[in-house]
């Protein structure tokens, strides 16, 4: 088991390095850098001026060197300009020139400076990640019990009327992406045209104080899309368990249906959905971006959209590191959890 986790961690690290390199590569392509130079320097810079601006800041060096600098394994760039000013990557106002660090990448804890938000990246990401974490917490609280209930109810008697109705419902939710359900919810519950106005169409105020009116719609929108898939997986798993030999034995012994479902079937039927729920988290990340844009909730997804459309290279890199790690860690947890939950699987 220890070796398995170690191997997975190694794989995870390799994947993370590859992915961040891809993001790094795509964001550091010359047209992107040109746009960066023009927006930082002067919009009417000539091509030569753009090049020298970039050259002074180490942007024209080979891609692996730049990536190494960002990681913190290659010394940061230094340029002594003709007028005697020294430009350095590792600027630190508090320290004299000689004592400043040579390496300043993410390994040294330096996540860089966000050009669009004009602040340090690390606290910025942490702050907005907190907002999203709160949103996700409520999504999970709503989504997981509902999905499991739906799945267990429809899976316990496959093909019954209840199953048909609930399955139709879960198919409908999987067919409704967040930007569709969100629009429909806002139109029905928050628009002047329909006039119900139970909830707010914007969740900006939910960042300070989330309440029923401003937080219901975003939570519901994300939860609904994720719910259908988990419910269908739970249903399949439940239906499979209900045909197992030991369930038939329990039935023949005269155990009541309720206690068969609650005591015998449920525990085994919930192993598979656990994996699905964990693997659903990266998917929710997509939903978060859409919902945060739609409801103007300034969380992680909102930050992503802002960083990507600016392009704010260092912020975007930090965001992709976080989201890649979310994906990889949930995969790891789901693998490990599966082994713990299902005693039939042993990893040698």
């Amino acid at each position: 088991m220890g070796l398995f986790i170690l191997r997975r961690l190694g794989m995870m690290l390799l994947t993370a390095l590859c992915l961040t390199f891809i993001v790094f590569f795509l964001t550091n392509l010359y047209p992107n850098l040109e746009k960066l130079a023009k927006s930082e320097g002067n919009f009417r810079m000539s091509d030569e001026a753009v090049y020298s601006w970039l050259d002074d800041r180490g942007y024209t060096d080979p891609m692996p060197v730049k990536y190494g600098r960002w990681l913190g394994v290659v010394p940061g760039w230094e340029t002594l300009k003709e007028d005697g000013t020294l430009l350095r990557q590792c600027r630190d106002a508090g320290l004299p020139e000689e004592e400043r660090a040579t390496f300043c990448g993410i390994l040294q804890g330096n996540w860089g400076y966000s050009l669009s938000k004009k602040t340090e990246v690390a606290p910025l990401v942490t702050k907005h990640l907190g907002y999203t974490g709160y949103l996700m917490l409520w999504v999970m609280i709503v989504m997981v019990p509902m999905a499991l209930l739906l799945g267990v109810l429809s899976g316990m008697r496959e093909g019954s009327g209840l199953d048909r109705t609930l399955s139709t419902f879960s198919i409908t939710t999987t067919a409704t992406p967040e930007y569709v359900s969100g629009v429909i919810f806002i139109a029905i519950f928050a628009s002047k045209a329909v006039g119900l106005r139970w909830f707010n169409g914007s969740s900006t105020s939910a960042m300070e104080s989330a309440n029923f009116a401003n937080f219901t719609l975003p939570v519901l929108t994300i939860a609904l899309y994720g719910m259908g898939y988990i419910a269908r997986m739970t249903r399949a798993s439940m239906a499979e368990v209900m045909t197992a030999q030991y369930i038939r034995t329990a039935r023949l012994k005269g155990v009541s249906f309720r206690s068969i479902v609650m005591k015998h079937a449920l525990r085994n039927a919930l192993i598979a959905p656990f994996t699905v729920i964990m693997l659903q988290i990266p998917w929710l990340l997509n939903g978060v971006v859409i919902v945060e844009t739609l409801f103007n909730y300034k969380g992680f997804g909102w930050l992503l959209v802002g960083a990507a459309s600016h392009p704010d290279i260092e912020l975007l890199l930090a965001i992709s590191v976080v989201s890649v790690f979310v994906v990889l860690i949930t995969q790891l947890i789901s693998d490990i959890g599966y082994v713990f939950l299902n005693p039939r699987i042993r990893i040698s």
Partner: protein, 493 residues
């Protein structure tokens, strides 16, 4: 011209009836759920005769009731549409107007279903679909959008021009008469006007054409790439499997939206990355066909060689012509002359897709292919242990023959089902791209872009965003139901 109501004169008779039928359906469904939940099931009450018959009666009654109520509701909907198609907007309001515009679609659907049901015995899996209610409903919805998209593109069912702005029609509600309509013009905006005073009804069907063009084709390309790579990975295993799986997991670990934001920007296009991706992804169909034919006709060189030459030259021509833009396969960097990779001359370049759409297409294929790869790999790993594969090996067949002519046909069931689901997912992805304003121009009538444009005024004029949202929802729902029906029918074998 007066403003239209939803059901017009027809509504005075039908609306009340419809309301009651719908209410009965809702009650019946709730009753059915309660009965299944609380009444003891058939199998558990074997001892008590009376309890048995009672619970049977309750189940039977609720099942019959739901069925009849559903039937009545569907009948009412058909009645609205049929009478609407006859009476038109003046007699039957907005629904009538829409139904009348859609007459070509209705006729096509009726013909298609008639022919299919008549010959369903001899049509294989497709014919079996018509034994399955869910599958049939799904297929009906999907084909509705397919026909609507095609006829929308042919301007048979659209009422106005989808790009023109009509004065005084900004944000107007559904059914508003067109101001200053001439003799030639259609007199209403059936689903209202958007924030740029364009006709929403027309834009929906123009958008449907974009979706039904891109989504199935992108899914097909993703499948060809996934199959071409997934079969050897699953069949051979070993190092090739490790490397390909690692790459697939790499792409899958990316949040889709981040990937789109990185790929579908003008700067990346300038750098030539999408062109390279297109060159790589579009080559898979050629490889696939080439191997497919070669492995089949390897033993008959007199047939194989001319066949391969013809097919391959046609496909390579299509490939080059698809990827050539302005005489280049990869365009030069901004401010430079010449090509980075020279393409076909313009007189050979017959396929000229909109570069924006091509960019969207490439990124959607790129996102979908790894998932298909994983599915195909899993299926191949499972099927390669079967006896018929061993038999083919003993017969001396080559590995590619076994993969493409033994394993692939036997994996078709799950693949067809996943194909349907994946078209739906691709539709959602296209909508996501439009929603974030990536790739397609803001003028584009596709549903995602229209939702994005409409959401800014959502709390005041929700109709502009609701119409495309509901269209997308029904199409994806139809595809999901179709996949469900196909799965049930293919499992019956």
């Amino acid at each position: 011209m007066e403003k239209l109501t939803w059901t017009g004169g027809l509504g005075t008779y039908l609306d009340t009836v419809f309301f009651y039928v719908a209410a009965i359906l809702a009650i019946a469904v709730v009753a059915r759920i309660l009965v299944t939940l609380f009444a003891p099931a058939e199998t558990t009450t074997v001892s008590a005769e009376t309890a048995l018959s009672m619970s049977y009666r309750a189940h039977d009654l609720s099942a019959k009731g739901t069925q009849w109520a559903l039937f009545a509701t569907l009948l009412m909907i058909v009645l609205y549409l049929a009478l609407g198609a006859i009476m038109g907007p003046q007699g039957a309001g907005i629904i009538g107007g829409i139904s009348q515009q859609l007459v070509p679609v209705w006729i096509s659907l009726i013909v298609l279903f008639g022919v299919s049901i008549a010959f369903k015995g001899s049509l294989g899996l497709y014919g079996k679909l018509f034994n399955n209610t869910v599958g049939m409903i799904g297929f009906g919805i999907v084909m509705f959008w397919v026909f609507a998209g095609i006829y929308g593109a042919l301007d048979w069912i659209t009422t106005q021009d989808h790009l023109s702005q009509y004065s005084g029609m900004k944000n107007k509600l559904p059914g508003t008469p067109l101001r200053g309509a001439g003799e030639e013009d259609y007199a209403w905006f059936l689903l209202g006007g958007d924030n740029l005073a364009r006709d929403i009804f027309t834009r929906i069907f123009k958008g449907a054409w974009l979706v039904i063009q891109i989504a199935p084709l992108a899914t097909l390309f993703a499948f060809l790439a996934g199959i071409t790579l997934g079969l050897p990975a699953g069949y051979y295993g070993g190092r090739i499997d490790t490397i390909l799986s690692f790459l697939a997991n790499l792409i899958l670990a990316f949040p889709v939206i981040l990937l789109f934001y990185l790929l579908v920007t003008p700067e990346i296009k300038q750098a030539g990355i999408p062109a390279v991706m297109g060159l790589v992804l579009f080559i898979f169909p050629i490889i696939f066909t080439c191997i497919l034919l070669n492995s089949r006709y390897r033993t008959q060189p007199s047939l194989r060689t001319p066949l391969l030459i013809v097919v391959l030259s046609l496909m390579v021509w299509g490939y080059l012509s698809l990827n050539t833009e302005g005489g280049c396969l990869i365009l030069p960097a901004s401010g430079q002359e010449g090509c980075r990779l020279i393409g076909l001359p313009s007189w050979l370049d017959i396929l000229n897709p909109d570069p924006q759409i091509l960019l969207v297409f490439v990124s959607v294929v790129f996102v979908n292919a790894p998932t298909v790869f994983r599915i195909v790999r899993g299926l191949a790993m499972d099927i390669k242990t079967r006896d018929y594969v061993a038999a083919a090996r003993t017969r001396g067949e080559g590995p590619w023959y076994i993969m493409l002519w033994e394993i692939l046909p036997n994996a078709r069931g799950p693949l067809i089902v996943d194909f349907c689901l994946r078209i739906g997912y691709t539709t959602i992805l296209l909508g996501t791209l439009g929603f974030f304003g990536l790739g397609l121009s803001s003028e584009s009538p596709d549903w995602g872009t229209t939702i994005n444009a409409g959401r800014k005024l959502l709390s005041l004029y929700p109709h502009a965003a609701l119409a495309p949202a509901i269209s997308l929802l029904t199409l994806v729902l139809g595809l999901n139901l179709l996949a469900d029906g196909l799965r049930e029918e293919s499992l019956k074998d």
